[in-house]
């Protein structure tokens, strides 16, 4: 599934990211993303997280090869969830730069909304950064409200999640 122009705009805003994976027994695990990179095909997105802070994410992805990532714009709660198959790839220097930019933008945005900086600091770290490559098969509107759970993206239909 492709990220459409509207979503592309969304990904240029300061965002927060949360990630879910599941192990072979079906037990889910959760963590926070600290950066991303949407590939040119608009169907693949790299999601960066700290393996130091969220050690289960990598092992679950290696076990089951699936991931869900929700991106939210803190100022207006607009959110989208991307789901699909996932694998791990090597972490490279540009990933660390992306993580830095993402964390700075997110921190500034949250602070401007009144969340104290000292509160945000424990949530965002790129220590032992890892990159999961997500091949997008589903995109859902996750913004609270009547459209929550609806499919989004270029193949959007009326199916509700």
């Amino acid at each position: 599934m492709k990220v459409d122009d509207r979503l592309l705009d969304f990904f240029n805003r300061p965002l927060m990211c949360i990630i879910a994976v599941a192990d072979e027994t079906g037990r889910p695990s959760a963590g926070r993303g600290v950066g991303f990179h949407l590939l040119e095909d608009r169907e693949t997105i790299d999601v960066i997280f700290s393996a130091w802070q969220w050690p289960r994410l990598e092992s679950c992805i290696l076990q089951t090869g699936r991931i869900a990532a929700t991106f939210v714009s803190p100022s207006d709660y607009v959110s989208f969830q991307l789901k699909g198959s996932a694998g791990m790839r090597e972490t490279e220097t540009p990933d660390l730069d992306r993580a830095d930019r993402f964390m700075t933008a997110a921190t500034d945005e949250l602070e401007s909304l009144g969340v104290p900086r000292r509160l945000i600091a424990p949530w965002l770290t790129a220590r032992d950064a890892r990159v999961a490559r997500l091949v997008i098969s589903e995109i859902y509107v996750q913004t609270p409200g009547p459209l929550a759970g609806m499919l989004a993206g270029t193949q959007a239909g009326a199916r509700s999640q």
Partner: protein, 450 residues
């Protein structure tokens, strides 16, 4: 160290959204924010089931769930390994979750879109602290626990007072000295007009005495209609619906007959505690603080104890005043006061009264001033008993039997605050005297409507 749910109390204030991860039967994960997690006991949490259909479906297909909850003081994160037990859509636990969700939704400005349909109960199998890249501040910084001896003293102070004004004063004094909160209001329920009227106030630039909260409006109205304490622990994202209060607000009173509600612009936490006597809500204590998460569980409990005592004392005060009013008021005509004429206007449609063009008060308190003036002008006397006011106004306002004292208090305070040329002086139990700086005139016919 084994963490217990009770160690995580600051995670359950709804300040920082929690995160819920589920997986479908075929193993596809799902992740979303969750507005509120409620601690049920040491082993269970409840989740407000207003979240997305996929999460609900996953939980029923695969009961294994992971939560991330965040301490609203320190930012510390915790992973909770939980399993679905059952769903509730009625009963005490459901009501508790619904109330907390309402307050929590209000504080993120989303009360319109968050509606509780049911709540899911989960057993907590494990709690794990998420490593933090920074050293976080110690939890619950700097505040000592509530002093029980101080609370006991405050209760005794309230119990020792007989008059409504002293009781309200003692309650506000207790709020300040036992709990250290500097901004508080006491609002008394007015059945006649279906609103709550500010009758006591500390800490505000303008006292707001006489200002009103209609019906179930905001936190205060919600506490009054539900009979439950409601608090907001982080106002930083609250949409401020209230009209900006300008310096002209006071002047506008004379046109709008509305006293501006006092505001603490830097408030971060608010709590509304209903005053209840035998199941009937008679008023609300409203406290606010510039601190985030200012109202801990124990503060809430202490406020409820103080408020409960004050509500009973106010009721007793009304009853005792009614019983003490047997002796009729002196009906001896008094010489007319010298000085310039003082003109009082009464509008019957809302019982608002103006003294020399300045808006004073409306509702029951306005009616009482009108009554006293009628008697003053017909009999020439200036002393009146609560009993005769109760009898005279009771036919039109039956609820007056339970709140005459607080209405007289409101009238007296508003006259003082507006520096009106009329004062109301208490001259004994259940007895007041009207003092004026000049001969009084009453205009009760002109301008029934503005």
């Amino acid at each position: 160290m084994n963490l217990r749910l009770s160690d995580l109390s600051a995670c359950f204030e709804g300040v920082i959204p929690s995160i819920i991860a589920t997986a479908s039967a075929d193993g596809m994960p799902n992740i979303s924010y969750l507005s509120h997690v409620v601690r049920v006991d040491e082993e269970h949490v409840a989740l407000s089931n207003q979240f997305f259909a996929k999460t609900a479906a996953n939980v029923r297909a695969n009961p294994k769930v992971t939560l991330i909850v965040v301490d609203g003081f320190t930012g510390d994160q915790f992973l909770l390994d939980i399993g679905f037990v059952r769903s509730v859509d009625a009963g005490a636990l459901f009501d508790k979750i619904a109330r907390q969700l309402k307050a929590s939704s209000a504080q993120v400005g989303m009360s319109d879109v968050m509606r509780l349909r049911s709540a899911d109960i989960f057993r907590v199998h494990g709690i794990e602290k998420v490593p933090s890249p920074v050293e976080t501040a110690p939890p619950m910084t700097g505040r000592a626990p509530v002093s029980l001896p101080a609370l006991s003293e405050a209760i005794k102070a309230i119990e020792g007072k007989a008059e409504a004004d002293e009781i309200i004063e003692s309650l506000l004094c207790g709020v300040r000295h036992v709990l250290g909160y500097d901004n508080a209001l006491v609002l008394i329920h007015d059945n006649h007009r279906g609103c709550l009227t500010t009758t006591g106030s500390i800490g505000y630039e303008r006292s707001g005495l006489g200002s009103e909260i209609a019906g179930s409006e905001g936190l205060i109205g919600a506490a009054a209609t539900s009979g439950q304490t409601i608090k907001v622990s982080d106002m930083s994202r609250v949409r401020r619906f209230g009209e900006a209060i300008s310096l002209e607000a006071e002047g506008a009173e004379n046109i709008t007959r509305i006293v501006a509600f006092p505001q603490l612009p830097t408030a971060m936490s608010q709590i509304a505690v209903p005053m209840t006597v035998r199941g009937t809500v008679t008023g609300v204590l409203f406290v606010e603080s510039t601190e985030r998460l200012a109202f801990r569980e124990e503060d809430e409990a202490a406020l409820e104890i103080l408020v409960g005592r004050a509500a009973s004392a106010l009721r007793t005060s009304e009853r005792e005043a009614a019983a003490a009013e047997l002796k009729p008021a002196v009906s001896m005509p008094e010489p007319a006061a010298a000085g310039r004429e003082v003109r009082v206007v009464h509008h019957r449609f809302d019982d608002s009264v103006f003294v020399d063009g300045t808006y004073i008060v409306k509702g029951v308190a306005g009616t009482l001033l009108r009554l006293m003036l009628d008697w003053h002008l017909s009999d020439g006397r200036s002393e009146f008993t609560n009993r005769e006011m109760r009898l005279a106004a009771g036919a039109r306002m039956p609820e007056i039997k339970d709140n005459l004292e607080t209405r007289l208090l409101l009238l007296r305070r508003r006259l003082e605050e507006k520096q009106a040329p009329i004062r109301l002086v208490r001259v004994g139990r259940g007895r007041v005297k009207l003092e004026a700086e000049g001969p009084l005139t009453l205009d009760a016919t002109a301008g029934d409507y503005p």
